[in-house]
């Protein structure tokens, strides 16, 4: 608005030595006339001409846009296709491979524990011995003539909870086998 006022001052034709108060009414009048012209002062012909011009402008603009889009698709689509990963049929090698397990024969379990030797094997983890101690008590109370052997008492070297390795496991099995059990009950406490 300030710029417009200054422009008016420079081009209004009023006496340059007039005071500011002389400019203000003339400026206000001009501004009021401008607003009136814009809202109602244009003729029907002016409006029609304007609309025709705008339609033409829009038509040309839409045409340019469509042309641009077609050109973009034509020139970039192959590159987009190349960049996109293609779905294809893959042949890959199964990384799992096969397994090889040799069967071992488990001795048949006795039909009764009466008169039999039961070895209780503890792996050294906390409370495994207490669990098996109670099992030993219950076996002696409930099974006639049973002999219960606690491996950790007679062969403490077989108590090694995380031994894990094959060599030591075979040593333990051999030692427990030497106790001549009819059955071994192991507690894998953790």
């Amino acid at each position: 608005m300030r710029q417009k006022f200054l422009y008016f001052v420079c081009h209004s034709g009023l006496d340059p030595e007039s005071s500011l108060f002389d400019y203000i009414p003339a400026f206000a009048g001009m501004t009021a006339w401008e607003i009136t012209y814009r809202s109602v002062g244009r003729t029907t012909l002016d409006v029609a001409e304007e609309k025709k011009g705008v339609r033409e402008m829009k038509r040309r603009s839409a045409g340019r846009r469509i042309t641009f889009l077609i050109l973009m698709i034509v020139f970039t689509f192959p590159w987009v296709l190349m960049a996109m990963e293609r779905v294809q049929l893959w042949e890959v090698v199964d990384p799992e491979g096969v397994i090889r397990i040799e069967p071992i024969k488990i001795n048949p379990h006795p039909l009764t524990l009466e008169g039999k030797t039961v070895v209780l094997r503890w792996n050294g983890k906390h409370n495994g011995d207490h669990f098996l101690n109670r099992v030993a008590e219950l076996l002696r109370e409930n099974v006639k003539g049973i002999k219960v052997v606690k491996s950790w008492e007679v062969a403490p070297e077989t108590v090694d909870p995380i031994a894990g390795n094959e060599e030591r496991s075979k040593e333990f099995a051999k030692k427990i086998s030497s106790l001549k059990p009819d059955i071994v009950i192991g507690a894998q406490a953790d």
Partner: protein, 423 residues
């Protein structure tokens, strides 16, 4: 017959199957057994007793083992999709660890096999606990998946052979509840030939050979060996070394004068290229910026390590018979060597200092009798060493600049296994 808890029965059954018993005689009790009062454990035994009697007298084997199949050539899979689809399908089928893999196409496998003179149908062994048959072809498959270069194959084959050696006790290390992983140390000319990280950040990122070989080793262990959480891998927390194992080359360029590299200590010639693998607990960083004498440094390090060896350590006498690995940082090695210390002197000093008073062992700790048999009479004030002999302390120059060294405690039952790298 075996009594196992609800949380571990699946591991028990998997172990029995892998040992040739497809349907073992089991009695299941509610988890846990450990760390509960005596009255509770006795009640659990009473509740389980009828089932114990039943299984003891009525169990009969009924199951069958899977049929034996030809290991070579490995079977092929046809998958329609993108590389992303391959990754999704592999992970869903348990054929990857969750990190991206490169599809193991036959062409990539053939390219990978050019890196070794070993025949692809050669069987290296059975990977526990699944007892998967590991051929050289299958090593190449996992090498391709991990992004290895063909020239890495000899190191990967040697590491696989070490993993499958019974002394490595890989079954124990991979199915435990502990945070265990494989440690791989590479020595000899192969380190520089293929760019194994051996200096600054040797075991960390930005070393292509280390990253891909470490990844391939774990792929082999978990896919061919079948050890994945939650079972049979029972690791309570697991860790990043389950993806890429600990692997570095010894920094032989920083060996003090007169010191031999690790593989020579192990009986190989200096010109040999050797891979040494051991199952370990997570390593401990010894940060010592202040010691100016060897005595100060060893005193500090031994006292730092000793309480941390609680990893159940004092209770497992077997660990005392196993080697423990000291990864000396070059600057710490220099401090010791400049004072005229040899590796033997370091071993002896560390062994004498890294001790726990017997009074610190938990009551009810098993194997006290065995300890006494191996070590001699003890009283509460007796200081128990971490190993039975100072020779069980192995020394490797590990890493680059910086006042850090690392202690690698062994997982129980795991011994270091060294294999020569053959091209």
């Amino acid at each position: 017959m075996t009594i196992a808890t609800t949380e571990f029965i699946s591991l028990a059954k998997d172990t029995a199957l892998s040992e040739g018993v497809p349907d073992g005689p089991f009695v299941i009790v509610p988890h846990p057994m450990g760390m509960i009062p005596l009255s509770e454990i006795r009640k659990k035994a009473e509740d389980a007793f009828p089932e114990i009697l039943k299984v003891a007298t009525e169990w009969k084997p009924v199951g069958k083992l899977p049929p034996l199949k030809q290991a070579y050539p490995a079977e092929k899979l046809k998958i329609q999709g993108t590389i992303e689809d391959i990754n999704k399908i592999f992970f869903a089928k348990g054929l990857s660890l969750g990190l991206p893999i490169i599809p193991p196409t036959p062409e990539r496998i053939q390219e990978m096999l050019k890196g070794t003179s070993r025949k692809p149908d050669h069987v290296l062994g059975l990977v526990p606990p699944r007892m998967g048959v590991l051929t050289v072809e299958l090593v190449a498959v996992h090498a391709a998946m991990a992004g290895c270069k063909p020239e890495y194959m000899p190191v990967l084959v040697a590491a696989s052979e070490a993993l499958l050696d019974p002394r490595a006790n890989w079954r124990g290390a991979t199915t435990t509840t502990a945070t265990s992983a494989a440690l791989v140390i590479v020595n000899g000319p192969i380190v520089d030939e293929i760019g194994i990280g051996s200096r600054q950040g040797a075991a960390g990122a930005e070393n292509h050979a280390n990253a891909t070989i470490g990844y391939a080793i774990n792929l082999i262990a978990d896919i061919v060996g079948g050890s994945k959480p939650p079972t049979p891998d029972k690791s309570t927390l697991g860790g990043p070394a389950d993806f890429v194992c600990w692997i570095f080359g010894e920094n032989e360029s920083k060996l003090p004068a007169g010191w031999q590299p690790h593989h020579v200590d192990r009986g190989f010639k200096r010109a040999d290229s050797v891979v040494t693998l051991m199952g370990i607990y997570p390593p401990v960083d010894n940060i010592d910026h202040w010691s100016t004498t060897p005595e100060e440094h060893i005193n500090w390090w031994a006292h730092l390590i000793t309480p941390l060896l609680s990893i159940g350590g004092p209770c497992w006498v077997s660990q005392m018979e196993q080697p423990h690995i000291l990864g000396l940082g070059p600057e710490h090695a220099q401090l010791l060597a400049e004072a005229g210390w040899t590796k033997d002197r370091i071993r002896k000093a560390f062994w004498e200092k890294a001790r726990i008073p017997f009074s610190a062992w938990p009551k009810g700790c098993p194997n006290t009798d065995i300890l006494i048999k191996k070590f001699g009479p003890v009283n509460p004030d007796t200081l128990i060493p971490i190993t039975l002999r100072p020779e069980e302390i192995h020394i490797v120059i590990a890493g680059g600049s910086g006042k850090h060294s690392h202690f690698f405690p062994p997982f129980p039952g795991c011994f270091p296994v060294s294999k020569q790298v053959k091209k």
